[in-house]
Amino acid sequence: MAKGPALVSATAGRAREPIAAEPVIGLEIHVQLLTASKMFCGCAVAFGAPPNTLICPVCLGLPGALPVTNGRAVALGLRTAVALRCALAPESRFHRKNYYYPDLPKNFQISQYQYMDHPPLGSDGWLEFTAEGAPRAVRIGRVHLEEDTGKLLHVEREGAVSHTLIDYNRSGVPLMEIVTQPDLRSPAEAREFLIALRAMLQYLRVSSGRMEEGTMRVDANVSLRGADGAAGTRTEVKNMNSLRAVERALAFEAARQADLLAAGGTVTQETRHWDERRQLTFASRVKEEAQDYRYFPEPDLIPITVEQAEVERVRQTLPELPAQKATRYVSALGLSAYDADLIVRRPPFAAFFERALALYPNAKALANWLTGDVAGLLNAEDKEVDETPLRPEGLVALLRLIDEGRISGRIAKDLLPELVRGGADPSALVAARGLEQISDAADLTRLVEQALAAHPGAVEEFRKGKSRALTFLVGQVMKETRGRANPDLVNRLLRERLGG
């Protein structure tokens, strides 16, 4: 959860070749909706089931099968569109997007397409977020619903594809597409926007929003705006499987275009793929012909109708969204805006924080631990807090041990990784390992005497006025007790003995 990398690699992109022109970035985000069943049939949506076990005539596109819209998916789309302040179409239709590909069992995808009088579910919204410490807003062009495709597995033999297996478990899984206007001005800003959008989707319980698992997929349009303000030719960048990949791919692509232009070349409108291993984008091997998807209204489905009263009801039942939450943390709990943002941008983190806060009233101490040590450990493991055994009760117990003087902060920091990895009970750990803080003056006096006797040089230096020597001597006592000594008491006892 460091604030750094976003800015660092954006700068790296610029450092490669100064970008005279400003990048213009628009994003197309597909998220998998958190529904129990698929978009147009009753098959379960589940991750990791054996291939082709979650299928039926509908999602297998068998002759005669018909789709029926999943009302829950529509409700989640509606909730998102309302939260993104979109205009809701009173009536929107599904369309067929026709193209041949073996992962698409009907050889058309049921999607929503904006054509003449056919609006998507939601359009013309916006999302506010913070980038590089400043408030920003990105316009949302559209929010619509569609179905996912199956998955192809190319089986290779002796370096060549011998055959392809198809798993249709994913076929028909509900997807929501969110398309931004080209309002983003840097790769770092794109990343911050995606973090904010993901947080919103998670608060709304609309999607798990995990790029690494494919429940959030991002494509980007990138162009450069010339000094004259005119937008340049754009490329579409695909195959970015993490936030970091998005940022690096966009930085690379912006720099690539700038290089091209600087050398007197022109940018070709094309689809480019991010190669994670080589850290570059490359044009699709096969030149894509201009695809004609022959969209037309899906005759097997009735239009989605949205009543204004329903929109109002959804608006009033929206959960607290990230921006509101951050404001409340600052005004009601006294957190810094920076800490509030760090907590709020990760919904599991915020949920953890709020549950801990109900047990332990010191919001600032909680926030310090969460945004500092806990976040550091989570980042190292690339996990969200709800994916670890750490519970609010455990962290609060740890903080209480400090408050009660039973362990030092230092010991607490040492124990934290065990809580995060193993969910240990801090009191039990402390008791079992004898980590309880030593606050007994007699015991500590003995240790202080030992330290003074063992380090006459330090005593000498202190008396000459070097206060650093005192720190050294405290450290020796701490070392002797493996951190268990009460540092304040050791300090006082030393000063008494040294007459300082």
Partner: protein, 484 residues
């Protein structure tokens, strides 16, 4: 009358009185199929053993007494466009040869629950694209009244089977006339219900916004009886309507008195065979004699219906038929790359008419043509629908011939698609409007059956069938059966 030609309503009465048993009934049809189908070719699949086994189960149920479902032990033939679990469903196409659906269409599930026995799957124009059943990949069906002529299409197998007494009744599907036109050409009753009345789940799609499953029967009463079983909202079909399914037979005997029937002027004009004109005119007189008020109405936009249909139905078909690619089911022609596999499978698997319509529809939806073709056709469809709504605001029913001609000779139109398309000129507008319509036998021209078409208001099949029944009972054509 031969048991095989009895209306189902009468067969059910005899079954309930234990005068016949389901096994006797099944054997009667299996015997006729064995004797006559080699020359008619109405069926693509009959599993006699399973028919007999099921019939015996119903024999036991009748013997045991107690409550029985409404169609207990009655066989039914089903157009091969409707999915039947474990039973081959080819849609008349090479591309689905050998495919056995893992599921039953909703109508099949309803029929099974009602006690009906699946007698077999009937021949049809490939993917319901045609008006003569000559577009079947498995060879044409012949007209029971004249083996040298077509039975109409695309539900030609179902119509011929019922007309020849190879089945007591059958399911067909109607996208542009595919129930009514073959019913007319084979001299039986064919009902296309209101769009949304009968679930399409498990009906292999041709033109999704037009397709409807319906009965082909010997009598109007049988059509009503079968519709009662088929109709109703299905959660698996989003376009199936949430309307009350009335007891269709309740008003059947109310007669023709007080009905206002509008004769569509455009249906009685040029291009009509004189024999057809004569038979339909006599039917109009008879309806008048029965107490119906006959008025003339016009449907000025009806002339746009044919081109409109051939843009919309083919546009939908081009997308609906994309799934036949050799990957998951049916025919696969191996090739080096996946796109070659798609192309070769589709090239070998589809017949000429299917390819023609896929190309037409693909073109109509293509960038740059979409507005000129697809969108214009949608607007024209709205005009046609409004035209019908206006006309049906002033009358209870509309009347015109089902087909401008009687059955034509095999091969007469296969090289002239436009002539073939004109066979449905009076039925297609009804699909565009989504309305219910029935074809009832109204006499003969040159020894070949003529059909009278009645069109009703949306979801008012009851009035439609009442008028059809009144005419049918007074005219008595339904008793005529083809020579064996």
């Amino acid at each position: 009358m031969d048991l095989s030609f009895l209306p189902v309503s009468e067969q059910l009465a005899q079954l309930r009185r234990r005068e016949i048993t389901p096994a006797v009934l099944a054997e009667a049809y299996l015997a006729r199929i064995a004797a006559l189908d080699p020359s008619l070719h109405a069926f693509l699949y009959v599993d006699a053993d399973s028919v007999r086994a099921e019939a015996r189960r119903w024999d036991a149920r009748y013997a045991a007494g107690g409550d029985l479902p409404p169609l207990a032990g009655v066989p039914i033939a089903v157009k091969d466009l409707i999915c039947t679990r474990g039973v081959p469903t080819t849609c008349g196409s090479q591309i689905l040869e050998g495919w056995r659906p893992p599921y039953d269409a909703t109508v099949i599930a309803r029929l099974r629950a009602a006690g009906a026995i699946l007698l077999g799957k009937t021949n049809m124009d490939e993917f319901a694209m045609g008006s003569s059943t000559e577009n079947s990949a498995f060879g044409p069906t012949r007209n029971p009244w004249d083996r040298g002529r077509v039975p109409g299409g695309s539900s030609g197998g179902s119509a011929a089977a019922v007309a020849a007494g190879l089945a007591p009744w059958a399911l067909g599907t109607d996208t542009g006339g595919s129930i009514r036109q073959p019913a007319s050409l084979c001299g039986i009753v064919g009902l296309k219900p209101t769009y949304g009345r009968v679930s399409r789940y498990g009906l292999v799609a041709y033109g999704s916004s037009l397709d409807q499953i319906g009965p082909l029967t010997r009598t109007v009463e049988d059509a009503a009886l079968l519709l009662e079983v088929l109709a109703g909202r299905d959660p698996l079909d989003a376009t199936s309507a949430e309307v009350e399914t009335l007891e269709m037979r309740r008003s059947l005997s109310d007669g023709g008195t007080g009905l206002r029937v509008g004769v569509v002027r455009e249906g009685m004009g040029e291009g009509l065979e004189s024999g057809v004109r004569k038979a339909v005119s006599q039917a109009i007189s008879l309806l008048g004699d029965l107490g119906a008020e006959i008025v003339e109405v016009t449907l000025p936009t009806i002339g746009y219906a044919l081109p409109t249909y051939y843009l919309l139905a083919t546009a939908e078909a081009s997308s609906n038929l994309a799934r036949y690619d050799g990957v998951r089911h049916g025919l696969r022609v191996p090739a080096e790359g996946i796109y070659d596999l798609f192309a070769r499978t589709r090239d070998r698997g589809f017949g000429a008419e299917v390819k023609r319509r896929i190309m037409l529809g693909t073109y109509a939806l293509s960038a740059g043509f979409y507005e000129a073709y697809y969108l214009t056709a949608q607007r024209a469809r709205t005009l046609v629908r409004e035209d019908f709504d206006r006309a049906l605001g002033a009358v209870d029913l509309l009347l015109l011939p089902t087909s401008p001609t009687v059955a034509f000779p095999l091969g007469a139109r296969v090289d002239d698609p436009l002539q073939m398309y004109l066979a449905d000129i009076f039925t297609i507008p009804v699909n565009l409007a989504g309305l219910p319509a029935v074809s009832v036998p109204c006499g003969f021209a040159g020894g070949l059956p003529v059909g009278l078409q009645l069109i009703g208001r949306a979801f008012d099949e009851a009035t439609l069938l009442r008028a059809a029944a009144a005419y049918e009972q007074a005219a008595g054509w339904w008793r005529k059966v083809p020579p064996s």
